[in-house]
């Protein structure tokens, strides 16, 4: 079990800035996120879209914002636990114990939930048979491409994941790329490479159509797709790869005994503590009168929450408010002379 001062759930901009606000106060933190990289919605939903309302930054993309925040928290050498979802939160005396789906355990007097709208999870095919075959012949991510060698693969989706994997796996497997409309939103140069492979007969592209049924007895043999005009077609398939994008699910957060308002966590607006002492919520996931779901609001929220975190983590020390411009201690913590 890892002991720290604050467990931060969510590595989006607000979770990352929390590391900074805690770090300059001398507090240690760990960050846990279900995605495979830091940045949260900024990276997953709009990496290339400009953001215009970060104070003193007239324009930056979600990716740039994330990169800069990671740079800003570098001095604190904080460990990020990615690809991990927090499943359980339990109280043990004055501490909270957090367990993840990777069986990691953390303990700290404070938790800051900066979970956005919950964890990102792949959208799945809503057919019952697809559910039964998930992990056997229906997949939503590629962990090891060797599993997909010499197969008949039907890839669904119109974004970069669908296009990239269609191209990559076509090197050693028979690919059918299926999308619900004729336009693909993924990179056009990848699409033109795939179109070339189609001309050579190495890849088939089927649009505009959607999955109608999976034809299987124990093992997947083929699927039936339905075109917009009502026609159906059977496609020999051993493996289905679905890239329908990610959806945000609140997930286990709802079960931690926190006061909720729909999908958000109620907090006070003095220190952003929830109804549980030592559990804070900030960013899009918290609600209080007048709440705005802006990145800048989240920054303010974690700044205030970090003060209360300090008081709980260092009950015998007096909290002193200091400016980064003039505090020698903060300069030391930032590695500045």
């Amino acid at each position: 079990m890892k002991q720290t001062d604050v467990i931060i759930i969510g590595a989006g901009p607000v979770g990352l800035f929390a590391v900074h606000q805690l770090g300059i106060k001398g507090l240690k933190a760990v960050v846990i996120d279900n995605l495979d990289k830091a940045g949260g919605q900024c990276i997953e939903l709009y990496p290339d879209k400009p953001i215009y309302d970060i104070p003193a930054v007239p324009e930056c993309t979600g990716e740039q914002l994330t990169t800069r925040l990671l740079e800003q928290i570098k001095p604190f050498k904080t460990e990020l636990f990615l690809n991990e979802r927090v499943d359980e939160v339990k109280q043990e005396k004055d501490n909270w114990v957090v367990k993840t789906n990777n069986k990691n355990q953390f303990t700290a007097p404070n938790i800051i939930i900066a979970g956005g709208v919950g964890s990102f999870e792949p959208r799945k095919i809503s057919l019952k048979e697809a559910e039964k075959l998930e992990g056997k012949s229906v997949f939503y991510t590629v962990k090891n491409k060797e599993h997909f060698r010499n197969k008949k693969i039907s890839i669904f989706g119109g974004g970069d994941s669908a296009l990239d994997w269609a191209l990559e796996l076509s090197k050693f497997s028979r690919i059918t790329l299926i999308h619900r409309r004729n336009e693909f939103r993924g990179a056009q140069h990848t699409l033109s490479e795939i179109r070339n492979l189609e001309k050579e007969g190495k890849v088939s592209i089927k649009t505009p159509c959607q999955i109608e049924s999976l034809d299987n007895e124990k093992e997947l043999k083929s699927i039936t797709i339905k075109f917009d005009d009502g026609k159906t077609e059977k496609i020999q398939t051993d493996v289905i790869l679905g890239f329908f994008g990610l959806i945000m699910k609140l997930g286990p957060i709802a079960e931690w005994g926190l006061n909720m308002d729909k999908k958000t966590i109620e907090v006070n607006s003095e220190n952003f503590e929830t109804n549980k002492k030592g559990i804070f919520a900030a960013g899009d996931i918290c609600s209080y009168p007048g709440k705005l779901k802006l990145i800048l609001s989240g920054f303010h929220e974690v700044a205030l929450a970090s003060v209360e975190c300090f008081k709980r983590a260092r009950p015998n020390e007096k909290y002193r408010f200091e400016f980064t411009t003039s505090s020698k201690i903060i300069h030391d913590r930032l590695g500045k002379k």
């Binding site: 939903l45 709208v117 959208r123 619900r180 917009d228 329908f244 945000m248 999908k263």
Partner: protein, 106 residues
């Protein structure tokens, strides 16, 4: 005020008045119409306010931007008449608009 009708996948319908200038999503959230979640708050960053627009209305509302169509790819069972209700702004001309919420939003 324009009246908007929200139907669920089983056909149960509810008609409410929505102020001009609000989105069909905002109207639904104010009156707590089930089936419209709007997780992202209307910034076209999720697809949880996805609705099917009644055929006779589909061509009367301004066409979807590319970004909206891309996002609809991520909705539950998108169809030809799929729209994100956060992008449909109510005005007098939409008085009587009918939308249907999908079986589920996630």
């Amino acid at each position: 005020m324009p009246k908007i009708t929200y139907k669920d996948h089983q056909g149960t319908s509810k008609t409410i008045e929505v102020e001009n200038g609000l989105s069909v999503m905002e109207g639904a959230i104010q009156k707590e119409i089930p089936g419209i979640d709007a997780d992202c708050g209307g910034s076209m960053a999720c697809a949880t306010c996805h609705v099917y627009v009644d055929d006779k209305w589909f061509d009367k509302i301004p066409k979807a931007e590319d970004a909206e169509i891309d996002m609809i790819d991520m909705a539950f069972e998108p169809k030809k008449n799929s729209r994100l209700s956060c992008q449909i702004i109510v005005n007098e001309e939409l008085d009587g608009l009918e939308v249907t919420t999908p079986e589920k939003q996630t």
